[in-house]
Symmetry: C2
Subunit: 314 residues, 2 copies
């Protein structure tokens, strides 16, 4: 409870401790998130996704600085495809964003893709909540645009930015095809490189395939993040999209869906925790797994049996 109070009062170390708690899925985290909930719902969540090498980290760095000029507080969550084992990329992100790291109006956190009880999506949603309660105006989530978890995480965002770069081959297109429909704004970064025209043309062609009249028409912007070109336009486009979301009622719809997902995912974890705690000692669980392995039983039968016993014992 004390920790929740500290987060709300702007204590950065309390935020760090709470996020660690969430990542380890400690029991404490649930109570604190409960206490924070009433102070959330203010932040604009921005997803930035795209293939490795498109320059997402640099773009986010510049975008964050651009928002800082307007005195907006910025949270950044970098979903890191590297593992705790090697950990190289986490360091990479930190270095690239080092001068933001000392800005008290910015909070940066990298999250690895493994070792989250309840899944990475769940943990990311909780971290968004914490940074929202901490008073961040914009929360930027960086993901690599491939994989189901990443698409799930991107779908938390109110505004999703897809970042491409010139000269990526055909196979990248294949991945891109899978996530085109979640993009609200398209960015051709490293636009000073050869092939920017072609990349923009291809994006335009793909977007036309899926455009529906009356809906938001995603703009395609060019940036050179490393030299800060096009960043203000990108910031403006993000704000225009947010206004559009608000006025069309789509922001409310989005928040409804996201809240429902959160509710169901918490329920799923609470339920299984409860059943295991009350019905399954470690040796009982071991016995069940062994009987399934020996084909004396099967998982569906065992699950039914446990749930029936759980119901009867209440």
């Amino acid at each position: 409870m004390d920790l929740a109070e500290k987060v709300l009062q702007g204590d950065r170390r309390a935020v760090a401790r709470l996020i660690t708690e969430v990542e380890n899925s400690g029991k404490l985290a649930g109570d604190i998130l409960k206490a924070l909930h009433g102070r959330t719902g203010h932040a604009h969540i921005i997803g930035v996704t795209g293939p490795p090498g498109a320059g997402k980290s640099t773009l986010i760095d510049r975008l964050a600085k651009s928002y800082r000029l307007l005195n907006k507080k910025i949270g950044i969550i970098a979903i890191d495809p590297s593992s705790p084992f090697t950990g190289g990329a986490i360091l990479g992100d930190r270095i690239r964003m080092s001068d933001l790291n000392t800005d008290p109006g910015v909070y940066i956190r990298s999250m690895g893709t493994r070792g989250h009880l309840g899944g990475l999506s769940r943990a990311t949603a909780d971290v968004v909540k914490i940074l929202d309660a901490f008073g961040m105006d914009k929360i930027i989530i960086e993901t690599v645009g491939a994989g189901q978890s990443e698409v799930e995480i991107a779908s938390m965002a109110h505004t999703t930015i897809l970042v491409e770069m010139p000269g990526l081959g055909d196979d990248i297109q294949t991945i891109k095809a899978g996530i085109m429909e979640i993009g609200d704004i398209f960015v051709v970064n490293k636009a000073d490189r050869q092939g920017a025209d072609r990349t923009e043309l291809e994006l335009r062609a793909m977007l036309e395939l899926q455009s529906e009249p009356g809906l938001w028409v995603p703009p395609i912007l060019r940036t050179v993040a490393s030299s800060n070109e096009g960043i203000t336009s990108l910031r403006d486009s993000i704000e225009i999209h947010y206004s559009h979301l608000t006025s069309s009622g789509n922001l409310d719809k989005h928040n409804y869906i996201r809240t429902k997902q959160e509710f169901l995912s918490i329920m799923r974890e609470e339920l299984i925790g409860l059943v295991i705690q009350s019905e399954l000692s470690e040796s009982q669980l071991d016995g069940i797994i062994m009987s399934i392995l020996k084909r004396e039983s099967d998982p569906h039968t065992e699950v039914s049996r446990i749930i029936q016993r759980f119901s009867a014992n209440r």
Copy 2:
């Protein structure tokens, strides 16, 4: 039940229908999987992962043909990062593997990364089970090596092959770093291209960082899948790894962990289905979500309340 019998008797159309059922998470699927369980546990599951463009599909095509020479039955599950919306890549896989598609000893299925109730990992595990019961000796799962779901899926495999190609940039290395530790066999495909030596050297350096004495030492092989070079060596390495798994007892350990995960994931889905069915009409759920959105309540409190009511009503 009829459908289970047909699968066990080798009816391909029954397999297709059952997989569709699993993808839609129909109630029927659970009963049939229960009936099939006793006939599973025979297949050797092989994961093939790596970045887009490394030539995984062609490699799998050639590997499958090589196993066919030994009269092994082959199941192939291609996890497709494209969406149902565009669907281009699914078609691509089909075409590339078209002459396998007419071989009665081969069963190929593409799976999109979205729209699976209970998650893609769950659905993939079920499809593996079906193909196992269908009598496939080797089941090859193709994934793009990025993202948590893909790593989860790769971890279903007994033998995991990581495919690289020469000349990919630094950012690809970053992704690779995250999945190096799951590789049992490393392949430098397109090894006739410039830079194959360097790629092999880099792989070797990274492997040395993480080698532990006494454990399996992952071999690094070179292939040119398009011209069938190195495929027999790859097949041999896979068989050597499988023997090593069996003799070391690691196969049993692996199957134990996988069965436990399956059991818990089925329990999770059954529990939430039961609670929603007995405690939450659509309008009640809507009311709860609205009260959370208005910050009159929070998800943790609501979950506790529902679970308590569920327990009391039993």
